[in-house]
Subunit: 313 residues, 2 copies
């Protein structure tokens, strides 16, 4: 057991309110005044979740994007956000961060209503947090996947992973990949429209394989993923090709903030219509089966799982 | 202008939703489904807001106490909380933190419903945040004080300041002062009962003088404080005496988490009855007047303001 899971177990001992969902979901779901609030908090830390060299506007964007993506995964429409900000000691840097934050919150109609600014001791990593609050009618858990469901993912995978490699100077590549890493798009409209049609939904922030495994564990089912079905962008393929290795890299890369969802085959047509209406790319990547755990396969034959299924913060 | 106030000005440019209250109040106040939510986020950082040597249970307690105190200041009853936690790398430390947090949340009926745990780079300060959400009927701002109001404070002041000096090994003193610093009591019941009776309310977390100055500025009034009216505990007096110097020390010390409120003289009897019913100590420390700014006086004659009015984080 990691120290993180041990700690979360200790919190679970008293986080017994139904809104907490056992601290196993992307967000809390609170019944209030006959309506349903979805609440999430994501923190990002320098040298853990972003690079010191990332433009501050993009870090501001990403803080909100990570939180709005959790709302998207629960089918919620943003209501408001609060921010925790550690002053960087550089007013220009802070102002650029605020600009990027304002841009994304305005784009997705999420007002900033409060928060806290703190100093941190010299030498401490920059550290930002956001609580995003939304409202939803149908709130899919990550625990509702049923045998027979199809497993879908939105967009393409691996782009942000390559964008990070570009940002680190490890490879060269097109701007679109760098943007995928620095300015991820929370799938809010898609999530809201899909929520009533799916049996389980979450965002893919740490990698398809690790997040699908989490969905399988929460739902007490097995999930089988076809490696050749991992959706890749042209930009990704232009750098890595479309080999099995490339697919596995894309399926274990983090920061894509796409939606991963399971739905019964009878919902397929409606799901495809939703995606067409929004001009959103979605892709069926696997099946939910009886049993437990994650299975990776190629043309139906099992492949060994890679040692690292994704990104563990 | 400090870099913090410059940054908050930049946020204000887009934090224009009425729930944000111009980012000038202790908490956001969000109308939702015909009811009123109060939302606050406070972060605490090692070596800024707490000492590395403070017991982890007490740090967990204090994180929640600081947030619940903001709810108290807005007359709100706690609904739920989300926590941002930086893993310390020491599972025993984390477990003790969780124990203290669970203790206070259970005492004040505030369920933990979500949050995030993150790693921080080696050498970074521990960094914790909490979003607390409550519900209120009457929500006093800090901007409602009117000329003619009396200014009140709950409890005694300066105890936590001496507790911090004890924790730092600078002085010796009784346990009760150390506890005032390490386990502050959010004045939730008092805040809820006072809310409909007051014209302005906030918590005193940074020092009576600095917080009263903030209330005066937000309300566009002058506030005059009688130095001899600063309420002191027996424990405080046993160490510092009850000189003018001691009063000024108490009036500029932080971390007391008492309530500061302004109310018209016609509310005095009801206010005193509320305090008696709750066995809470309250003390009239000054008057709200026409004009602007903070005035300190002794027996009605003006005293020079100390250079440092309180604690600026």
């Amino acid at each position: 057991m990691t120290s993180e899971s041990a700690f979360i177990d200790e919190l679970r001992a008293f986080a017994t309110h139904p809104a907490a969902r056992g601290l196993t979901d992307d967000a809390a779901v609170l019944a209030f005044a006959g309506r349903t609030l979805v609440l999430t908090h994501d923190a990002i830390v320098e040298n853990v979740h972003f690079l010191p060299s990332d433009p501050p506007e993009d870090i501001g964007w990403k803080l909100a994007a990570a939180n709005l993506s959790d709302l998207a995964a629960k089918g919620a429409k943003p209501t408001a956000a609060l921010m925790a900000y550690s002053l960087s000691g550089d007013a220009g840097w802070d102002a650029q961060f605020a600009a990027g934050l304002g841009e994304i919150l305005s784009k997705y109609g999420c007002p900033l209503i409060g928060g806290d600014t703190v100093r941190v001791p010299e030498g401490s990593a920059r550290h930002f947090g956001m609580t995003a609050i939304g409202e939803a009618e149908f709130v899919p858990g990550r625990d509702g996947a049923s045998p027979g469901d199809e497993l879908w993912v939105s967009g393409t995978l691996g782009d942000a992973g390559l964008g990070l490699a570009i940002a680190r100077g490890e490879i060269e590549g097109p701007e679109v990949l760098l943007q995928a890493y620095r300015r991820p798009t929370p799938q809010l409209e898609l999530g809201q429209k899909l929520a009533p049609l799916v049996s389980a939904m979450m965002d893919v922030s740490d990698g398809l394989l690790i997040d699908a495994k989490r969905m399988a564990e929460a739902s007490n089912v097995a999930i089988a993923i076809e490696s050749i079905d991992v959706p890749l962008s042209k930009a990704f393929v232009s750098i890595r090709g479309d080999t099995r290795e490339a697919s596995l890299e894309a399926a274990t890369a983090g920061d894509d903030y796409q939606l991963l969802f399971a739905a019964p085959p009878r919902s397929r047509r409606q799901i495809e219509t939703v995606a067409e209406d929004l001009k959103a790319r979605i892709h069926c990547v696997g099946l939910v089966e009886e049993g437990g755990g994650l299975v990776l396969q190629e043309g139906g034959s099992p492949l060994p799982l890679p040692e690292k299924l994704g990104w563990e913060h």
